[in-house]
């Protein structure tokens, strides 16, 4: 899974969000390391929706503009959980071998 996809799903794991909020959330989560472009975000949202990992939660019109909120589907939650577990497992091994085991990651 690409990092951008992972971060979009992670952003939606906190509850339904609209496009602009997802962009801001990803920048905040990554400490400004990842700043998705709007075109990249909507391409990812379109693909994730096609794959059944996210869905439209609600639509609002704010200041005459459409604002669409997205949320994870049960399949999306499961996919994110699987990917997070995989990343945690890999990180645990890497940190252990570096002698930098981190209790939060389950390493010693």
């Amino acid at each position: 899974m690409h990092e951008a996809t992972f971060l979009v799903l992670t952003s939606l794991a906190g509850g339904p969000q609209h496009g602009y909020a997802i962009l801001a959330d990803i920048a905040e989560m990554s400490g400004d390391r990842v700043r998705l472009r709007a075109g990249t975000l909507y391409t990812a949202l379109d693909r994730l929706r096609g794959d059944g990992l996210i869905e439209v939660a609600k639509e609002q019109v704010v200041d005459g503009r459409l604002r669409r909120y997205y949320r994870l589907t049960p399949q999306g939650s499961q996919t994110l959980a699987d990917e997070a577990a995989r990343l945690r497992s890999n990180a645990t091994v890497a940190l252990r071998r570096l002698g930098l085991g981190s209790p939060e990651l389950g390493g010693a």
């Binding site: 609209h18 496009g19 602009y20 962009l23 472009r37 709007a38 075109g39 990249t40 975000l41 909507y42 391409t43 949202l45 379109d46 096609g50 794959d51 503009r65 459409l66 604002r67 669409r68």
Partner: protein, 214 residues
């Protein structure tokens, strides 16, 4: 209308032009909200699209047009598309092998055909191979077009794929019957690799097509 509203309208209009790169289905679904986000992240008084955003829009749009528009469950057809892309790469390899082995093949011809000189053998070979040398890049492009067409479920794709497969089969048989295995074994080996790859791709495509009609 205030200056701010004019700026926003101008910026929207300019971004909308770049959104035309996306497929119409994407624009129908996302154009309004994507424009709203592009305006929201723009600076005060900004009238021209940001270069970075434009680059991302164009790159995403091209990627979306090229990427297979298939569900994850369509594994066989996705595999066929991968094999068609591999066939295109192998066609280019054939082109390179033909160019690279002309000298060696000419030398072998001179040994077996005493009346020939190295130069006349080389000239005759280039003339003999010219259709294949011209055809290889065209066929490579054909495989890529078919990969795209299958990825977008074009109805004509399986039939055209079958036709192109027949063409490369005839070409391979012609090579085999003209003694190419003796003179140009490397060419034949890559040719067989393309044929096998294209055959598996064709089987997968036809099976997927048959299932979709069932």
């Amino acid at each position: 209308m205030t200056d701010v509203q004019t700026d926003v309208r101008t910026l929207e209009r300019r971004y909308r032009r770049w959104l035309a790169w996306y497929p119409s289905s994407f624009r129908r679904e996302h154009e309004t909200e994507l424009l709203a986000v592009l305006v929201a992240i723009s600076g005060d008084g900004q009238r021209y699209p940001a270069i970075g955003e434009v680059f991302a829009l164009v790159r995403s749009a091209i990627g979306m047009r090229l990427r297979p528009d298939l569900p994850r469950s369509a594994r066989a057809l996705r595999a066929a598309i991968g094999l068609l892309c591999l066939s295109a790469v192998l066609e280019i390899v054939i082109f390179g092998v033909m160019i690279g082995t002309i000298g060696g093949v000419a030398t072998r011809l001179v040994v077996t055909e005493p009346g020939l000189t190295e130069q006349t053998a080389r000239t005759a070979l280039v003339a003999h191979l010219l259709p294949e040398l011209i055809g290889a890049p065209i066929v490579a492009a054909g495989w890529l077009v078919l990969a795209w067409a299958n990825g977008h479920r074009r109805r004509w794709a399986p039939a055209c794929q079958l036709a192109l497969f027949v063409v490369i089969t005839v070409s391979l048989l012609e090579g085999l019957t003209s003694g190419a295995t003796h003179y140009a074994l490397a060419d034949v080996m890559v040719g067989v690799a393309v044929w096998l790859t294209a055959m598996v791709a064709l089987v997968l495509t036809l099976r997927s097509a048959a299932r979709s009609y069932a």
